[in-house]
Symmetry: D2
């Protein structure tokens, strides 16, 4: 209720820009919306209305540069920055226009080592349907996998407990689900929401800071997840796990890797929690069922490979 709306953008490092453009545009089916003078390529999901949500840049190492949450307006942005500072978190401002079609961004580093941003302004370019008498979908909805939106990120880093405190106490998120470590007390993984999505962001305790487990894209149905898997195979995309259902969040999912080894998820479903809901807790013994509900299996690659 603090005015943090949703994960609005994420910047990802890739090895080969043009190969990645082809992958994200034609296989994942994002819409390319622009390129900037820093060499970045901007994408959005077809049903998103803001100019961009997924940005890639060429680099030697894969992984995540930063991610940003959109907030309601500039007053909210200023208020949240003040709250962060008061809490003891240093912030800086990225100028408007540094990212295409995007206003000023308040940037700070999380205890897990991830660079997070808040911003209030990104130009609305629409979802390709008109705002007058729109049809329910269009050709872009069927170009490649074609998720409807960037849904959330799962990030690996140290001290997720400190992250949790910031998201709960300053940013107004609530803890939807969590996994306890073998000791039955330590929170090894956290799913947090600032809305009634089952997760807007998630963190897993991990020694190395600033790592990306996956960016997640929402599909409209279990049948569309199957179609996503078909398209992955047709394009020889490496799949990590799925199709399957998570016990955690109930989401139905496939995880795969982009050409640079960044994992991404195409998923649907899960329930819609509210801030007055009690947190769901998974203990270590049931974590296999939480991860892969039908198979009740811990997948080594899924748990250990990050970028």
């Amino acid at each position: 209720m603090t005015g943090v709306l949703r994960p609005g953008h994420v910047q990802i490092r890739v090895f080969d820009l043009e190969e990645s453009v082809r992958f994200y545009r034609d296989v994942l089916g994002l819409v390319e919306t622009g390129r900037d003078d820093k060499g970045r390529v901007y994408f959005k999901c077809w049903d998103e209305r803001d100019h961009n949500s997924y940005i890639i840049r060429q680099a030697e190492e894969a992984g995540i540069d930063f991610f940003g949450f959109k907030v309601l307006n500039v007053e909210t942005l200023d208020k949240l920055e003040a709250d962060l500072n008061e809490y003891g978190i240093e912030t800086s401002r990225m100028p408007a226009g540094d990212m295409l079609a995007t206003g000023e961004r308040v940037r700070f580093t999380l205890p897990t080592g991830h660079i997070m941003e808040l911003y209030a302004e990104k130009s609305a370019v629409g979802n390709g349907l008109t705002n007058a008498n729109p049809g329910p979908w269009n050709a872009a909805s069927e170009h490649g996998i074609a998720p409807v939106r960037l849904d959330h990120m799962l990030l690996y880093g140290p001290n997720v407990a400190a992250n949790k405190k910031i998201f709960e106490e300053v940013l107004g998120f609530f803890l939807v689900e969590r996994v306890l470590a073998e000791d039955g007390e330590f929170e090894a993984a956290l799913w947090l929401s600032c809305s009634h999505k089952v997760h807007d962001i998630a963190f897993v305790e991990h020694p190395e800071p600033g790592k990306l487990h996956h960016c997640s894209f929402l599909m409209e149905s279990w049948e569309k997840v199957l179609r996503a898997g078909d398209i992955m195979s047709m394009n020889e995309v490496s799949v990590d796990i799925g199709p399957t259902r998570h016990g955690i969040t109930r989401g139905c999912t496939i995880y795969a890797w982009d050409p640079s080894g960044n994992r991404f998820e195409t998923f649907m479903g899960g329930y819609q929690p509210y801030p007055d809901y009690e947190t769901i807790t998974w203990d270590w013994d049931h974590f296999p069922q939480g991860l892969d509900y039908p198979q009740r299996k811990l997948h080594e690659s899924f748990l250990t490979i990050v970028t």
Copy 2:
């Protein structure tokens, strides 16, 4: 962002209480959670966690008594009551315990003649799954139609413009979609959200105040909507329209009547808007497509029958 969470309860008048209990419990598949000394029967959807969301009482006339939105906490409740009063709306307090498992309710009458409530407290009884290592569903999920939640109401009454102002300016809702009358200006129908549901409440301009068009229940998939239609037929429930897709909201739906003639909806889908989204507008010429997307047809019964 004012702390209004969701439509939390609605009270509906029925002709024959026991026949209605059988209908709502065994055909619609709600979970009966209690009865009070006023003769009311309380239900919830299987995946809702609060004690009740749908309450029926026996009466000579069908229709809606009142509906309530849950807010974040008692501070929010007090703040919103003050805001309503300052706006010029009189409120009264229904005492805690007047409804089973429910705290104090702030009650007021909308310009359209509907009695609306806000409340902060309703006992959590859970969804029948544990909060530790829950499965994704249980037997209750397949008893009758078994919607996951009370989703929204569509109400008919005069002066929806005045309602809109209150919902937008005091309660923090935003206008997701609207239908313009033949003159191209008058807003004949409004879909409003306090979350990123495509509608938490909707209003249609109508001379008679306080009328109910339908209460809506969320299904998990288009296949579950088909199953809902099957169960309606097996139980000789009168169907109004559907299965079909609305152009408005993109929702996929069936409308039917309870034994007293109160219309209800079982639907799935639609998109998830945010407060920064531009409103979608349907003009009168495209309203048939907005109402029944494949058939592009205005259904007389759907537009005119209310309780």
Copy 3:
């Protein structure tokens, strides 16, 4: 078990050839496979392997010219012709090559006035997937509505009882379902299968001979039926009924009209009967439920409009 395989082709009359080509190719999403010197345009469904299944020609009046069932081989063709003749039905031979990519056809007229054909040879052109290591679908599967196959026809004409006798006694079909007229005895509608499809052909008693109620195309899922309805609306196709489920056959369906007023169906589901199954009978009182299972309604247009 006589070697009659499936409805293999149907020839339909349309008013405007090029408008109809655009409709069948881009809206219904058939694959155009050729045109002949008689001005006919040949189509197939994407997953059919023979050269053509749906043929249109320009004419002053809409309707059906003829339909053909493919049989196992030329021996079967000869045998069935002999059987028909012995039964008392006159046959003629249409020469190989009269239709593109199609061998000799044995032609005869049914008591209901429809011209039926049997043939053994039509060139296999494949479904656009290779026969070595094929993917499950391809771009053609998503071009327009894109049904997987021509599934069956429903035809109106007098004396369906005589048709039934021929299909059962000579052609080896079995009666899957039937509707009895109000007298509880007269078979007003018949669904017949030569396979374990729930219908390969169907007949309804009607005074005028040789009429077409609809040609039916198979979709892969209920979600694809919804998508079909979306595409119909996007292209302003006139829909008759649906989406809905039939009680009869359990099929889930939409009926609509081509630009010339020929009705077609896009459907999925139904069960798979075998010749040892007892026939399902619908009496007149339950026919509304048989026709539109959720709505339990007789649709006037559906019952009376034919071409």
Copy 4:
């Protein structure tokens, strides 16, 4: 076209009869239809109309005793027995009544070591829906996983080439798909149909005779396959692979083990071939994609564990 209809029954050995009854009745959701004086328990799928299709008996070793195909009538049975004998296959007759509700069975041993039967008579007990004005499903359709029918078996044994010859030349099956061994010539796996199901039976070359890879049960949708996986996990059933799609047959599937280690499949989809279709061939390099289309992976357990 020889009158062989479908796989009608299979007899499976289990370790603990009552535990297995609970599993097959309450988890897989078959309908128990009887027990005989040999201690066998008979089941059918809810939508099957004959008395039984899946029979279990207690034994020290898991695996398959025999399977039987239903044929059109006793004349067909006699004819096929004569054809088998003429081909050089010895047959014996199991008397009517040896299996509950089942007529005389013609029994013979396949080159792969499996005991196969043909039979013409099994009492119709119906699918729990009436033959007059039936609904599309009933409570049994949602008890446990609740497949609609026993669909096919995949069997392991030596000399599948000899099996193929019998099925093609005597029993009238056709080869739908096949996998070639690394040499590009040897047919390592065969999918055969006597109908237009994508498989009525399948064989894999294997040194040990008479082994069972799996019995397969048909589900109605991809969503029902997901539900099957949920129910498996709720009941701690060991899952082998899935949910996933096969490239081979396009079927969408989960494989799991019964309490005795007999693998079974719950699947949906695939296409519907006809005898005039060219066989689909998978070469060894593409077999991973044929087995698990999205993951393009050979699963060791799936390929090697049989009972």
